[in-house]
Point group: C2
Chain length 324, copies 2
């Protein structure tokens, strides 16, 4: 109900009368009044003027189900949101919920006590300024296709950052996002499967949003959207924007079971595209020119006369000059 | 301690004195005596003759950690065994234990209340006559390699059935085992992974061992080792034999990260090898001659002039004549 009230207030330039709300929601005046009070308690500034109705003046920067949900235009992505004040990591939480959860369920936490990066690395998760979320997907797909979904999520997140923060978000293959050559987003995808069929996929996304100062030890390689844009952002708006894009991008992906319809948008944002990169293959290091991803998500690198396709994230790719 | 006592008694053609046991195990006479009593309670027939010592006369058909463990010659496979009188399914139990478990831990249950076959199908799990077990593996491998491990497990299980039951076990690609054209074993492999690294693999194996009569609805397509061999088998001996083979086969697999060193043994047992099969590809059905697996575990089928490689278990392969 709070979600629906917020959606109506947000979409109305003018005051909305209590009567209108009651009719649209099919509930009593008392029920509307109770929900309004709850919203005010959560930090929403809602003006109530007699004979005119309600008007939403400002929203707190919260990442609750109703705040995110009231901004969605999706049919399944994020239609069910589980919001936690604190959890160990949203991916772990998502894995615990996954068997029983519907496709598209989103787990959000204000604080992660044990945020995870790829390959067991930790992820700094300060309270209230970042986005820590995990999306549960249940596609009818073979496990081999799952790695492409990480690239889909990277693209959708980049689009959402561009739209919400007005920043140019670049993709560091396969799935880190970079603004002004510093990392703002990490994605950790986990998979539970039989040999032939995925049970579920959990896509965990961490975004540095409103952090004012990055910790010293990572300040040279990581940044936040606030630092780069100079303004405070609504985390809920960014999450909703991501979900709106992701639902479309995911369906483009599913229609061909590859990235053919998304690779142009992905490659537009690919950092180092057309430049020399160093490929840190454990078997052999070499330099080559990054050409872009192919439809399977592999990175194509021109190495002399030879075209190399890098398929594994075990292989690190760096620009020849500088961090990224 | 029970495991060690059983191992010593089993490997001694003659009586073993209490003194010898105390020395070998580094414990007191009383401790040995207590363990002997526990074993007798579990159904072991142990003769104790004054001045000569202990002698193992017979073992119950149990699948406890000590009964299986006392027969192992492995260094890691099954070195930790968790035995349950009843669980929903050993794969589910293994997944619950997996994060904390060591590589090679084996889950065994006497009864499964919700035994699982592939793609959510159920698996009949009558008490006390079958083997229901799941092996937890933690290889440093990319998820794409995991499907080959199912074929490794199929081969090791076939070898163990041959050795223990003296029957010819055939493999129905990719991982069912068949004796006299009827199914005796199903394997269900499940996977938890990041995009680039496996967290754990659970290989669930169900074997119809001492069932005297198969249920009517499956009697024409499924059988048990007892029905086919005409004799009662020790389930623990079969499990231990499987683990002994599996540890070697797994290490052969890991040395090349493919099936090149195992495919000859696999193909020797492949049912329909050299015969016409019908390939039930959802996109197109066709017939061809099954040639064997390649080093990645794909089934090679000669279709006219063309060589098809079938990589997915979503594709069913059947003999042109008969059930398998």
């Amino acid at each position: 109900m709070k979600t629906q009230i917020l959606r109506i207030l947000r979409n109305s330039p003018d005051y909305v009368s209590g009567q209108e709300l009651c009719e649209e929601l099919g509930v009593s005046r008392t029920a509307v009044w109770k929900s309004m009070n709850k919203l005010k308690e959560e930090g929403y500034e809602i003006e109530a003027v007699q004979n005119r109705g309600y008007h939403l003046i400002s929203c707190p920067d919260v990442v609750t189900g109703s705040e995110v949900g009231s901004r969605l235009s999706t049919s399944w992505a994020g239609r069910k949101i589980l919001h936690y004040k604190e959890t160990d990591s949203t991916n772990n939480q998502a894995k615990r919920e996954a068997e029983a959860a519907e496709h598209g369920t989103l787990i959000i936490a204000d604080i992660q006590s044990a945020g995870k990066g790829r390959r067991g690395r930790s992820w700094s998760s300060p309270a209230g300024t970042g986005i820590f979320m995990s999306l549960i997907l249940k596609p009818v797909l073979r496990p081999a296709y799952a790695s492409m979904l990480t690239l889909v999520a990277a693209l959708s997140t980049a689009r959402a950052i561009e739209e919400t923060a007005g920043l140019e978000a670049k993709i560091k293959w396969p799935n880190d996002l970079v603004v002004n050559k510093k990392k703002v987003t990490g994605i950790l995808t986990e998979l539970s499967a039989e040999m032939e069929q995925i049970h579920y996929i959990v896509i965990g996304i961490g975004i540095n949003v409103n952090t004012e100062n990055m910790p010293d030890d990572i300040a040279s390689t990581a940044t936040s959207l606030r630092i780069e844009s100079g303004r405070q952002l609504s985390r809920a708006a960014l999450i909703a924007c991501f979900l709106n894009y992701f639902e479309k991008d995911y369906e483009s992906f599913l229609s061909s079971c590859d990235l053919s319809s998304l690779m142009e948008e992905y490659n537009k944002r690919l950092i180092n595209r057309g430049s020399m990169v160093r490929v840190l293959d454990p078997e052999e290091e070499y330099e080559g020119k990054a050409l872009g991803i192919n439809e399977k998500g592999g990175l194509m690198v021109q190495r002399g006369d030879q075209l190399e396709i890098i398929t594994s994230g075990e292989v690190s790719v760096r620009g020849v000059y500088g961090y990224v």
